[in-house]
Symmetry: C2
Subunit: 307 residues, 2 copies
């Protein structure tokens, strides 16, 4: 086995993803648990991390740890102040904070990013900036990081110059779990999305109808579609998912995150990338998938002089 | 006591509102219970109605009953087919369905309204059409019926010619009860809305910012406003409420339900009217409040030849 070099932890509100990396930056081992920061009681983050990767420390000694995500927020282990956009690798590196674990391992918390020009209040991200960096800042490009709170980020001149959050993942979840839709919908099939239903929702939001992006109205179409015999209970969840994500694209287009004919990059690991890929051509977009190992590459890039 | 003439029941998913009316159309008694149709097991609607107003039958005999609302839907007591807009009093009257209760009282279920021209599917209402009729169809006017599923309806030539549903009431409830906002928000004060917080949300949505109506983005501002120290936990619910309702006005404006300088009517009894009144001037609108007794007036108008 190659010599171990460090541990990377992508620690969000609902999950903990850890990778054991070699000294040359290759993944040696990885795991994901449900020990998100919301599940950690009484600030026992160090115990939780030891539970998750203690065997790696035992095998390889007190390896340096790099942590990103909501673990660096006020609700996490160590609150790291946001770095303001525009920001590149140097700015993000300067924002990192370090402490020493009880076992002697140095743990570095990477900074999140703030966009002070968003309105009505500055926007924020914690973790996605690392994925954007890991995808490479060499090319001017708009990138999407799909998730519960999807981020659209603009890279120019080797910096993330601005970004915007859209809560489409959470909105779909809210609607299909707690709204009038939840009562009417049957669970989706395990075989993945019903693309016909997804497309029906997405293509309406992508249409030139006056009300195409009027989310408060279009969501009601999940009910009226059933009343009209056009949507089946088992199609509702995918229909709503397509509607919500394509509405996000409407808003992103209207806020100049892209124009027709552009290429966008899709980066991320929250399982929603294929949905964004599906919607992109409806808005005249070509898609380039980002690197699968964007998190690790981003951490190692930002941390390269911190090791 | 004046002679009793009929009983009017506004029976929705979560509540039952009954009024005992005199033979000359004046209210003699009224009550509201939580016996909405979702709480009725095994189709026991007649028992539920008898529980609610049995004493009126005992005192006055088998009075005619008129029922509106979701009780006339597939999930209710008797499904009444929708009448298609444009529709006035005659069309709605023709759509009513009658049966006889066990005690001999005739019960008439008034029809809901369908707008076949809404997209992606025809829109529907059950009950609000009666309130619009009760407010009077004599004047060409756009009316709003605020609620869990708010309706905007256009009256022209003594008919309801078109309408649109916006799920703003439910959306606010979803966000403040189940989303990331629910975790951060403290309950609102019992003293009613914090108007400063409400206005902050509403005025952003009413602004000319590129992203003012991009609901999936603006909702995230409930978090970023707190991070930025601009919103307090006890202000969040009212902030989000203002944001959502004013976003509805953006959509309604873009779909030509009104233009700047117009007067709109606000009709309804779901406790949200003052919120819509508050937002209206932000969009250059004057407000005229509808009749408080719009439900009763509407039923009696539609039912006048059915009695």
């Amino acid at each position: 086995m190659a010599e171990a070099g460090c541990i990377i932890v992508d620690w969000g509100t609902t999950s903990l993803r850890a990778k054991l990396m070699s000294a040359t930056g290759l993944p040696l081992d990885g795991r994901e648990t449900g020990a998100g920061i919301l599940s950690i009681k009484g600030g026992a983050f160090e115990d939780a991390l030891t539970d998750a990767v203690g065997d790696w420390f035992e095998a390889h000694g007190p390896l340096p740890v790099f942590a990103i995500g909501m673990i660096t927020s006020r609700a996490g282990w160590m609150e790291v102040p946001y770095v303001d956009a525009p920001a590149g690798i140097e700015e993000l590196r300067a924002g990192a904070r370090r402490m020493t674990m009880r076992n002697g391992a140095p743990i570095t918390f990477l900074a999140g990013l703030r966009d002070p020009l968003r309105r009505p209040f500055p926007d924020v991200m914690r973790g996605e900036e690392t994925q954007v960096v890991g995808n490479g800042l060499g090319e001017d490009l708009t990138l999407v990081v799909p998730g519960r709170h999807t981020k659209w980020a603009r890279v120019e001149g080797a910096k993330i110059i601005r970004f915007q959050t859209y809560i489409s993942g959470e909105m779909t979840e809210l609607l299909t779990s707690h709204s009038f839709i939840a009562k009417a919908a049957k669970p989706r099939s395990d075989d993945g999305p019903n693309w016909e239903a997804f497309d029906r929702g997405a293509s309406f939001a992508a249409s030139d109808n006056d009300a195409a992006d009027a989310l408060l109205a279009t969501i009601f179409s999940a009910r009226t579609g059933m009343l009209d015999g056009k949507l089946k209970p088992e199609e509702i969840a995918d229909y709503v998912c397509g509607l919500v994500i394509a509405t996000e694209f409407c808003y992103a287009r209207d806020a100049d995150w892209f124009g027709r004919g552009d290429t966008i990059g899709i980066v991320g690991n929250d399982g929603l990338n294929h949905l964004y890929e599906r919607v992109s051509p409806m808005f005249g977009l070509s898609v380039r998938y980002g690197r699968e190992d964007a998190v690790e590459r981003g951490v190692l890039t930002i941390a390269s002089k911190l090791l």
